[in-house]
């Protein structure tokens, strides 16, 4: 089984190498290699997951490690149910994205590098989820940051794509410093870099409350950056100029999911540091409401979805902060399914309309029936409509927060209540923005601004992934009935909450009704073009970081020009001046030269004689 896991880790790298090697020589071979590589990855993930889901013993194997002094580092795999479900999620979405990209990027000149990077991205995520050694996890973590940078800047001729990529890279890289220092602190406290050993140490001898606040806080910083939570939330919406399948990959399966995964993986560490958990709960509450509010007014369909991702990730962090491990993980999986569906559907809409602006869509229901069906399921799952997966997992999350607020073991009481209130408010906002985007894109009159050829459904390569993703979005709720079968004995909590489920359903229904009534009465005028003031994060970064750095650069440049260069140029000028003086003596008169020689010789002779 270890060999299978290693194959799974190596396969994406191999695929990327093959795809890059073939390059532009043979378009069909490139596409075949990319899709076949992803399919093989998916098969390997299924094999691994089939053996280790549920209550099977986790696989832990040291493949290779350093034998020098100090704590050993190495390639150590640890496959437990959490790794398995994330492996399945990542490889499935990656495979579907590769298939989808066949149609979406059919005429893209940069397809080979794109396919290679998608493959590498998936491999990096797989490395993160099966890593037992924290340094191995860090490698995958950073590799994902680099891949996301390259993929967001796929259309590098657009200035906003370049800016978004640089922003994503800088923000996540800055936050990643937290992971690096967190790993160092953990290694120093526990004497090992193995996650499994750290967790078993924690279970065997629980430390004092909050004794480990420093590493937990450092890990939290990295997680907030990777998962785009306040105050690092600005990079994710700005990453939208990337190709839409990449957005699906980043939002559903790889990049932002890694943040939630890390908190879930190190959950026992966070459970013994309630202060950090409280901070996480506050930040998650702020993030989910803010992001949902932005999603409500964004005009760009992909930005709506991006803010929605930020908001839903905050739900997961809220659940994890409330101590509800399985609810958070299940919401991550459910979100992966329906957000991939939504992004791929949005890609189909963009493909048909040629713009991401909601104001240029409208009445697409009849023109794009397949896309309409897919997006309807996706939005319904996002809003938490009853039989779909989003309903069950969101209910589990809200129920867990409710229990935490009522019984209160981890969080400060008012923070827990704040969390519950934020979750309920966000549930309402989620319904509102999901319905808004749905109505604006698919109902009402056809946009007058839309010109050109009639919009039509995408080709089969883009339709099939939509249908495949509809299955888990609709039926995924079954998992909530028996989470232990998937997540193992640790995830066996009761995740169905009658009262909360009823409350949220009523809220969803009322909000939906209100939105539909407003739409009936006022049409598209319900949503005038408006923007809400953003948190001054970007301004603060600009004022506090970017400008001082620029000013420092100016100082350095001035120092270079006025001090260092002055010496260099001064040397040149003085040599030139002395040379000009000496040239005066070169008169060409032989007799005056000789006179100097004779006078010099006499002077030397006299000097030598007087000294002797």
């Amino acid at each position: 089984m270890t060999a299978v896991v290693l194959c799974l880790l190596g396969r994406p790298v191999l695929t990327a190498a093959v795809v890059l090697a073939v390059g532009h020589r043979s378009p069909h071979t490139v596409r075949g290699a990319a899709v076949a590589g992803s399919a093989l990855c998916w098969l390997l993930a299924v094999v691994v997951a089939g053996a280790h889901l549920g209550d099977a013993a986790p696989l832990r194997r040291v493949v290779v490690e350093t034998a020098s002094v100090g704590q050993p580092l190495g390639i150590v795999v640890w496959v437990d149910p959490l790794s398995c479900v994330l492996l399945l999620l990542a490889t499935t979405v990656s495979l579907l994205v590769q298939v989808y990209s066949l149609g979406y990027l059919a005429r893209d000149p940069r397809y080979p590098s794109y396919a290679a990077l998608v493959s590498l991205f998936t491999g990096a995520m797989a490395t993160v989820v099966v890593a037992d050694d924290l340094w191995m996890l860090l490698v995958g973590w950073e590799l994902m940051g680099a891949c996301s940078y390259f993929l967001i800047s796929h259309h590098w001729e657009l200035p906003e794509a370049r800016a978004g990529a640089v922003k994503a890279f800088l923000v996540t890289r800055t936050a990643d410093l937290g992971l690096l220092f967190g790993i160092l602190v953990l290694g120093e406290r526990f004497g090992t870099y193995r996650i499994s050993e750290i967790l078993s140490d924690l279970a065997a001898a629980p430390p004092m409350r909050d004794a480990l606040w420093l590493p937990a806080l450092l890990l939290l910083v990295a997680v907030l950056g990777k998962s785009a939570q306040v105050p690092f939330h600005t990079w994710l919406p700005d990453a939208m100029p990337g190709p839409t399948p990449i957005s699906a990959l980043i939002h559903a399966a790889t990049m932002v999911a890694a943040g939630v995964f890390l908190v879930a993986r190190m959950h026992p560490l966070f459970l013994v540091t309630p202060r950090v958990l409280t901070l996480l709960a506050v930040l998650a509450s702020v993030t989910m409401v803010l992001a949902a509010a932005y999603a409500l007014v964004a005009d760009d369909l992909k930005r709506v979805l991006a803010w929605s991702t930020v908001s839903q990730l905050a739900y997961m962090f809220g659940a994890l902060a409330a101590g509800a491990w399985s609810a958070g993980v299940l919401h991550l999986l459910a979100h992966g399914a329906f957000k991939a569906l939504l992004f791929l559907g949005a890609g189909a809409v963009v493909h048909a309309v040629g713009s991401t602006s909601l104001s240029r869509m409208g009445g697409l229901r009849t023109a794009l029936p397949h896309t309409f069906a897919a997006m309807t399921v996706g939005f319904a799952a996002l809003a938490g409509v009853v039989p779909l997966v989003g309903f069950f997992t969101k209910d589990a999350v809200i129920g867990a927060a409710w229990e935490e607020a009522r019984d209160g073991r981890l969080l400060w009481p008012w923070v827990a209540w704040l969390l519950v209130a934020a979750m309920l408010l966000t549930a309402v906002l989620t319904v509102a923005y999901a319905m808004r985007a749905w109505l604006l894109a698919f109902f009402g009159p056809t946009s007058p601004e839309h010109t050109g050829r009639a919009p039509h459904d995408p080709p089969a390569t883009m339709r099939v992934p939509l249908y495949v993703l509809m299955v888990p979005s609709v039926l995924g709720g079954v998992v909530v009935l028996d989470p232990a079968a998937v997540l193992g004995p640790g995830g066996g909590a009761d995740l169905l909450h009658g009262a909360e489920a009823l409350t949220t359903t009523v809220l969803v229904a009322l909000t939906g009704l209100a939105v539909v009534l407003l739409w009936r009465r006022r049409g598209r005028a319900v949503w005038p073009a408006m923007t809400w003031p953003h948190l001054p994060v970007d301004v603060l970064v600009e004022r506090g970081l970017v400008r001082p750095v620029l000013r420092l650069a100016q100082v350095v440049r001035a120092g270079e020009r006025d001090v260092v260069d002055a010496y260099a140029e001064g040397t040149e000028a003085s040599v030139r001046g002395v040379g000009r003086l000496l040239r005066r003596t070169q008169t060409g008169r032989v007799q005056s030269y000789l006179l100097v020689v004779v006078v010099g010789a006499v002077a030397v002779a006299v000097l030598a004689g007087s000294l002797a």
Partner: protein, 105 residues
Amino acid sequence: MPLWWPLLLASLLFALGVYGVLVRRNAVLVLMGVELMLNAVNLNLVAFDAQLRDVLHAGQTLALFTIAIAAAEIGLGLAVVLLVFRTHGHVEPARLTSLADRDVE
């Protein structure tokens, strides 16, 4: 004969030669100054040879060498002077400044 007589004569000849080389305005006379200096040296060589009673007469041998070289040198020198006269129309060393550093900024 005491040694300082020929040495004094040689010094006077040498100084005369140096003076001629440095200040004469005619290249032929400059060459004559060079000859004076060479012969002052020859005088020294012969004087010391006699004074030291050298059985190999190295001083006289070297003086012969110098005379031969001086003959060759004066041949070359006069040829140069002739060529200078042909190209420049004069033989004043002070006016022959084509090797001066001309392009001082």
